[in-house]
Symmetry: D2
Subunit: 301 residues, 4 copies
C-alpha cells in the first residue's frame, strides 16, 4: 500500500496559508500589552484571526499571548515586521516567536515494538490533520519498517541499550540534523534518554507515558495499576525533561476499568487512550498552542 | 435552618470588585478592532485581565469579544468612559454592553414540584459561587416554600394552568418588576410560557430541558428515551424562545445508562445531569460569558 | 504493505478455545431457570466461566441469560448436549443459541469513500481483538481497494444508486452466500438498503450513524448539529431495520464541541467517535453479548 | 427547615422488601457452584432477581457471587434456610453472608468543616436513594450541627487532635456501639485514625480522598496537583486500612482542568467529584454490591 498524504489544499488555500502567521509572547504583566501588540499588527495591515491570552496573576504576574493573524504579502513584509518588533519586545521584556504557516515543522517519530501510536499519527497526517512533514522514523526494532516504507518515510533501525546509549544518541543527534528535525515524538519508544540528548532538544521532545501521571511513574504502569485496583486508567503526554516522567504535562485522559480487567485488557484499553492523548499533544505543539512555563504548560485551545 | 450566604469577600476584595468591569462587543469583522478596543482601555488606565474573542468567519463575518478589565476609581470614570466609547461603537457598528462587577444581577428562580435544581443553585449561591442576588422564588406548588423561607428568600405561590395563564403571567411580570429581576431561571418549572411573556425577557430566561436536545423535544423525555433504548441520557440548558425547546443551547451533558435502567432510574440519573447543566448555564450567564447570535450561543470560557 | 493478522494464539490456547462455548437464552421469567441451566451444564462437566442475566420485570417479565462455559472434549459432546437441551427449552419455552468459540463468525465490511471506520476495524482485527474472519470488503467506490488488498482481503466494487439498487442487492446477497457471511458491517456505507435486503439479514447488519440518535435522523447530521448549535456531538451504532435509523441501538458516545467548531471540524471529531462506537458494537456482537428484544438491545458486558 | 425522608414506599412495597434478601459468597472456584446455589434457592421457592458472578481465574482461582432473591414468607423461613446452607458452605469452603432487605444498615457520618459531601449524602437519603438509617453525625467542628438538627439526626461534637486521639476514639467507639452503627462514612473528616480504631471496623469505614489515588497520597492534594500541572483532577472513595490512602479503592472519577484554574478553583471542581464519588461508594456498600478481596474491590453493578 503506497499511501500519499491527502492533497486537500488548493492553490488558493496555499496562498492564504502563506499569508498566515502566529506570534507567541511571554512577558511580565503590565497595562497596555494587548494595545501595543494589536496596534503593531494593525499598522502592518495584519488582521487578527484568533487570539488567546493568560495572566498568571493580575498583579506582579506573567502575561502570555498567542495571536494568529493574516496579512497580505506576508512573505515580503515578515522580515521588516520582525525587525520593527524587536523594539517593542525590548520595551516590554518579551520572550517571543513568530511562526509562519508556510514553514512546516519537521518531525521525527521514535518507536519501539508497539505501533499503535505511530499508526494513529500516520493516520491523522494522511488525513491532512497533522501540519508537519514527517521527516524520519527511528526505531530500536524492525517492526515499524514496513509501515514506514509503505508511507515512503525514511526508516532508521538503531539498536539501543544502556551499554551503547551514548553512541546511539550521537547517531540520532546527527540524523536529527541531517533531516532538519524540529520536533521529536516518542511514540512508545522504550529507551531512556541521557540528559545530554534531552538538553539538545529542550521542549522539543514529546513523550507518551502509559499512566495517569503522577501515578505510576516509571516502568510497568499497567501491572501496577492492576495490582492497586484502580477504577480508571490513564495516559499522559508530556515534554521530556531530565526527571523521569516529571516533564511538563500536555494532555491526559482516562478510561473506566473494573475488577474483571486483567493486565492484557488494561493494556488494550490503555492503547486507545495513549494514541489519542499523544496525537492531541503533537497537534497542539504543531499549531503553536503550547507555552511551557516552568514545569507546566499553558495551552491555548 | 437559617442559612446565610458565605461572606467570604473581604473589604479589600470588595474594593477590587468595584474596580472591575466586563465589556462585551459584537460587530462586523474588520482589521483593527482589537487595537482600537485595547488602546481605548489602555488610555483610561484600565488593565485587561481576561480577553476572549471569536470571528465567525475571517472574511465577511462577525467579530465577538469579551474583555474583563480592572481600573482604579472605575466608579468615578465609568460614565465618561461609556460616553467616549459611543463614538468607537458608531465607527465600527458595534453592539455592546458594559457590565460592572459591583452591580450584581438579580435572579428569580421558577420551580414546580421537583426541587433538585433549585437546591443545587442555592448550594452554589450559599458557597459564594453564584454571583447574584436571588431576589425571589416563584412556584405553582408549595413544595419549595420551606426551603425558600429557610434561606430568607421571598417565596410566591402562583397556581398556574392553561386557563389562567394570562392572568398569572401578568402577576409574574409585575413581580419581576417589583423585585427588579434581571434573569429568570426555570429550575424544572413545568409550565408553558406565552410568547408575550417570553418576549418580555428576551435572552433572559434560562430553562433546563431533561433531554439531550434536539432528541426528545417536548414532554416525558425519559419515558421516550427508555422506549427508544438509548445508551446515554442527557440534559440541555438553553435560553427560552417561542419555539418549544428550540432556543439557543447553552450547555449539555450526558450519562451512560443501560438496559437494566427503568424510567425511575433514568429520572434519578437525569436529575444529576440536570442540576449541573443548569447551574453551569446560570453561572456563565452571570459572568457575562454568553453572547447569543441567531439561534446559537458563543460562550467564552 | 502485506499485513498478517497477529498469531498470538498458541496451540494450547487453541485447544482451550475449542472447549469453550456460549449459551444464550431468552424465556418467560419463572423460578428455577438458573438452577436448571446450571445443573444441566454441571452434569455435563461444563464449568461456567462467565454468566450474566437480566429479568425485564420480576413478575410476568422475560428472563435473559448469557453463559460462557468450558468443557473438556466439547466437540465430541456438543451434539449430545444440544439434543438433551431441547427438552429443557421446551419445558421453559426458551429461545436459545449455542455458540462455539472454534466456529468463528464471518464478516463482510461495506464501505463507501470514508475509510476511518474500516481502518479501525482492520486495526483491531490485526491486533487479534476482533474474533472474526473478515471474508470480504464491498464498496460502491474504489477508495478502499488498495487497503483491502494490502490485507489480502477480497474486495468487490459494486457501484450503487437508486436506479440499480435491486440488481446490486441481488449481487450482494449472492456474494454474502458465496463468502458464507454471518455479519454485515456498514462502516460508513452511504447507500439505503431495501426492506428485502434488510429482511434477509435480520439483526445481522450493524450500521454506524453519525449522530447521537434519535437526534438528527437521516442525512447530513453534522451540518444540522452545527446549525442547531449543540454542545456535544455523537455517534450511534445500531442494528439495521426497515425504519431509517430506528433500529435497536447498540452503543452511543459523544464528544464536546463549541461555537468555534465548523462543520469540517465536527466531522473530524465525529470520525473519532464513529470508529470507536462501531468497533465496540461489532466486538460485542462477535462475543455474543447482545440480545435483541423488540427495538432494544440487552448487552451483557 | 425540618426535613423528613420521603415516604415513597407503600405498604405493599414494604412487604415485597421484607421478602427480599441478598446472598454474597466467596469460595475456591470449582464446577457446580452456581448449580448448587441456584438449586438450593429453588428448593426453598426463592426466585433469583439479580445475579452477578466473577471468577478471578478459571483455573485455581476464586469464585465470587452476589444473588438477590425474592421469597414469600422469607422472615419465617430465613433461619431454617441459613441453617441448611451451613452444610453447602462447608462442602464448598464458602465465606458468605445473608443480607435481609428489611434489616436496614445503620450509618454514622463523620465530617469536619467542609459540608459538601455530607449535604450530598443527606440529599440522596432524603430522596429515598440511600437505603440506610443515618444514626448519628460526628464532627470535630460545629459547622454541621444546624444541618444535622434540621434533619433531626443526633449530632455529636467531639474535638479531635493528635494529643487526645486515643480518648476521643474511645468515645467514638462507645457512640458507635450505642447507636448500633454498621457503616462509618468519613465525609471529609480531616483526622487520622489509629490502627486500633480502624481494626474495630474492618471494611466498614469508607473515606473520600480528594485526589485520583495513587497520585497525591496524603495532605493537600489540590495544591500538589496545581503545582504538578495535571490536566485532570480526581477523587477516590476507598475502605480505610492502616496504610494511609492505600485501602481498597471503591470508586474514582476525574474532571478536566487547565492552566487557568488556581487552587481554590481546583477545590471547587474537586468538591463536585468528591460528593458523587463518595455517594456512589456508600450506595454500593449499602446495596451489598462490594466484596473486598485482598487490597482490591469486586463490585457487582
Amino acid at each position: 500500500m503506497q499511501v500519499e498524504q491527502v492533497k486537500n489544499v488548493t492553490k488558493q488555500q496555499d496562498l492564504q496559508l502563506s499569508n498566515r502567521a502566529r506570534l507567541l509572547v511571554k512577558c511580565p504583566d503590565k497595562p497596555g500589552i494587548v494595545s501595543v501588540l494589536s496596534t503593531f499588527l494593525y499598522k502592518h495591515n495584519a488582521n487578527i484571526i484568533e487570539s488567546s491570552q493568560y495572566s498568571s496573576d493580575p498583579e506582579n504576574g506573567k502575561f502570555f499571548i498567542r495571536i494568529e493573524y493574516h496579512c497580505e504579502h506576508l512573505q515580503d513584509k515578515a522580515q521588516e515586521m520582525e525587525k520593527e518588533f524587536e523594539q517593542i519586545a525590548r520595551d516590554y521584556e518579551m520572550t517571543y516567536n513568530f511562526y509562519y504557516r508556510n514553514q512546516r515543522q519537521r518531525t521525527a517519530i521514535y518507536v519501539s515494538k508497539e505501533l499503535h501510536c505511530l499508526l494513529e499519527l500516520l493516520w491523522e497526517w494522511q488525513n491532512g490533520d497533522l501540519d508537519t512533514d514527517i521527516a524520519v522514523i527511528i526505531s530500536n526494532h524492525e517492526e515499524a519498517r514496513s509501515i514506514a516504507e509503505s508511507y515512503g518515510i525514511p526508516f532508521h533501525y538503531l539498536p539501543a541499550n544502556k551499554d551503547i546509549r551514548k553512541e546511539v544518541e550521537a547517531q540520532q543527534i546527527q540524523l536529527m540534523k541531517e533531516y532538519k528535525v524540529d520536533l521529536l515524538i516518542l511514540a512508545r519508544y522504550m529507551q531512556i534518554l541521557t540528559p545530554d540528548f534531552v538538553n539538545h532538544f529542550e521542549n522539543r521532545i514529546i513523550n507518551i507515558h502509559h499512566s495517569f501521571l503522577p501515578a505510576f511513574i516509571g516502568a510497568n504502569p499497567y501491572d501496577r495499576a492492576h495490582k492497586r485496583g484502580v477504577k480508571l486508567i490513564g495516559a499522559t503526554s508530556h515534554y521530556v525533561t531530565n526527571d523521569l516522567d516529571e516533564g511538563p504535562i500536555i494532555e491526559q485522559d482516562v478510561e473506566r476499568v473494573d475488577h474483571r480487567d486483567d493486565v492484557p485488557t488494561l493494556k488494550k484499553i490503555g492503547r486507545q487512550i495513549e494514541r489519542r492523548v499523544l496525537t492531541k499533544a503533537v497537534k497542539w505543539h504543531l499549531e503553536n498552542r503550547i507555552i511551557v512555563e516552568g514545569n507546566k504548560t499553558i495551552i491555548f485551545h
